[in-house]
């Protein structure tokens, strides 16, 4: 069981959360070329290792969180709010 340390609620099992997606993707400008939009919508880094991603505490405080998790070991090394980044706080 993955456990996520919610900044508001404390450590909870991941069954309380809904997985969002890769949190490193940034929305292109509205007038950005189609290739950029294609990359944004369809292509993923999909790393084997550290992955920064969104989780929604759907059955808790309902906050969206940003989580750094290893996709091989499932170890979570950092949890923050969506506007934060692991480098900034750790």
């Amino acid at each position: 069981m993955i456990r996520i340390n919610c900044p508001y609620c404390g450590e909870r099992e991941h069954s309380e959360f809904t997985y969002g997606e890769d949190a490193t993707r940034t929305t292109p400008d509205n007038d950005a070329p189609m290739e950029e939009w294609n990359k944004f919508v369809y292509e993923r880094d999909n790393p084997a290792g550290e992955h920064i991603e969104y989780w929604h505490h759907a059955f808790g405080c309902r906050a969206w969180l940003k989580v750094q998790r290893n996709t091989i070991t499932h170890d979570i090394s950092w949890v923050g709010l969506p506007h934060e980044n692991p480098e900034a706080t750790s």
Binding site: M1, Y19, H51, T71, H74
Partner: protein
């Protein structure tokens, strides 16, 4: 090595089965091949077999980082079907059904293909209506499909809870009568042996660590057993596609997710065909050995770990027990996970490029096993002719950019939802 036949078995039986030879060679890799297939799973083996058989290209190496049968080809729930809705998918999978029917004879290997029927259960009138639409579409595509009444469903599988007070009563069902199961290991071994007999080198414990490029063209691979050159390099490494593509700075429309599967101890015949629950995600069949084999949803977060988590475990079991309460008395023997290439539209990619000398076979989501023969057949054609076969021409990599996605479930670019 010769052909396997009844006489052969009798002769060996009389001699205590001491004279069987290995089913395929264990060659040292040569320095040059016409074609390298990265990945010795079902799809890679089938590709090499059809390259040799249909296209006369026998100077082929399959590079497998582990051992044959150790990846997803040995980790699935062995279901074979073609009950697809969309034009890009239906003819491809139905061609696969034809290959499944003749596979044991073709490969001279008993793959235990058993067309025992795949039945999906509807629990509401509206769900039944969508099944009617699917059945009609399947028939228009030349695929067998039957709509079943509630009574017919319960007659086919008596252990389904047909009581009035069950949480999700059975309304009816859809049946693909000629779909079923096959022995997954035998499919891997059969293709490996048949490809080897046609001259393909199967090289196990040989991990591809990088690509060798000349200008913008791929001319070979670096491996844990030395550099190997080839005119054409095909990737059939579902589960690791993004990791390998990263070495080429290639980002794919793929996320890796884990899918769990389960098997019980062997029991007497209990379930006649393949059955899927319509009010949750649960599919079940019984192996010829008696084990009840079942699975459900992917875990839902990016992962490369070949193990699942307990919430999905519980969800799968709950779905199964709702449909077939008697399963609660069975003892679970094993549970395992396999890593899936979840694509952005739920459909695979079999394509030339996008780099010269490279050919892609990826994005099988959790439907890769049934596609094994058709995938190999089409990928071999694509590699040999440098263009897609009629059957896989919709499975291009650039379909996402062009807006021609094949989204069977209509979920959009959310891989965990397919």
């Amino acid at each position: 090595m010769g052909q396997y036949n009844a006489l052969n078995i009798a002769w060996n039986a009389l001699r205590g089965h001491k004279n069987w030879q290995r089913a395929w060679r264990d060659p040292e890799p040569k320095r040059n091949y016409d074609v390298i297939i990265i990945g010795g799973g079902g799809h890679g083996l089938a590709t090499a077999y059809y390259l040799a058989k249909n296209h006369g290209i026998t100077n082929v190496a399959i590079l497998e980082k582990g051992w044959i049968g150790g990846g997803n080809v040995g980790r699935n729930t062995t279901i074979v079907r073609s009950n697809y809705l969309l034009d890009g998918n239906a003819p491809f999978y139905e061609h696969g059904m034809n290959l499944w029917r003749d596979m044991a004879q073709d490969l001279n290997y008993n793959v235990m293909f058993s067309p025992r029927g795949v039945m999906n259960i509807a629990h509401t009138k509206s769900q039944y209506d969508t099944f009617a639409r699917r059945a009609n579409t399947m028939r228009l595509n030349g695929i067998q499909a039957e709509l079943l009444s509630r009574e017919e469903v319960l007659e086919r599988e008596p252990i389904i809870d047909g009581s009035a007070d069950t949480r999700f009563p059975v309304w009816g069902g859809i049946l693909q009568p000629d779909a079923g199961n096959a022995r997954h290991d035998a499919v891997a071994w059969g293709y490996a042996r048949a490809a080897d007999q046609l001259g393909v080198d199967i090289i196990q414990n040989c991990e591809v660590t990088d690509f060798i490029k000349q200008g913008e063209r791929i001319i070979g691979v670096k491996t844990s057993r030395g550099d190997i050159h080839a005119e054409k390099v095909g990737m059939a490494v579902a589960g690791s596609s993004s990791r390998l593509a990263e070495k080429l700075d290639l980002r794919l429309p793929i996320e890796s997710h884990v899918l769990q599967a389960f098997v019980t101890e062997p029991y007497k015949p209990l379930i006649n065909g393949v059955v899927t629950f319509g009010a949750g995600h649960f599919y079940v069949s019984q192996s010829d050995k008696g084990g009840v084999v079942f699975g459900g949803d992917i875990d839902g977060y990016n992962t490369y770990a070949q193990r699942g988590n307990l919430p999905v475990f519980e969800d799968v079991i709950a779905g199964g027990l709702t449909m077939m309460p008697c399963l609660s008395r069975l003892k679970l023997l094993r549970n395992w996970g396999g890593v899936m290439d979840m694509s952005m539209d739920g459909s695979p990619i079999i394509d030339v490029g996008p780099i010269d000398g490279l050919y892609l076979n990826t994005g099988w989501c959790y439907g890769g096993f049934k596609a094994t023969p058709a995938s190999g057949y089409c990928f071999a054609h694509t590699i040999a002719n440098d263009e897609a076969h009629e059957l896989n021409k919709a499975y291009t990599l650039d379909r996402f950019a062009k807006g021609y996605t094949i989204d069977e479930k209509g979920m959009g670019p959310y891989p965990k939802a397919h």
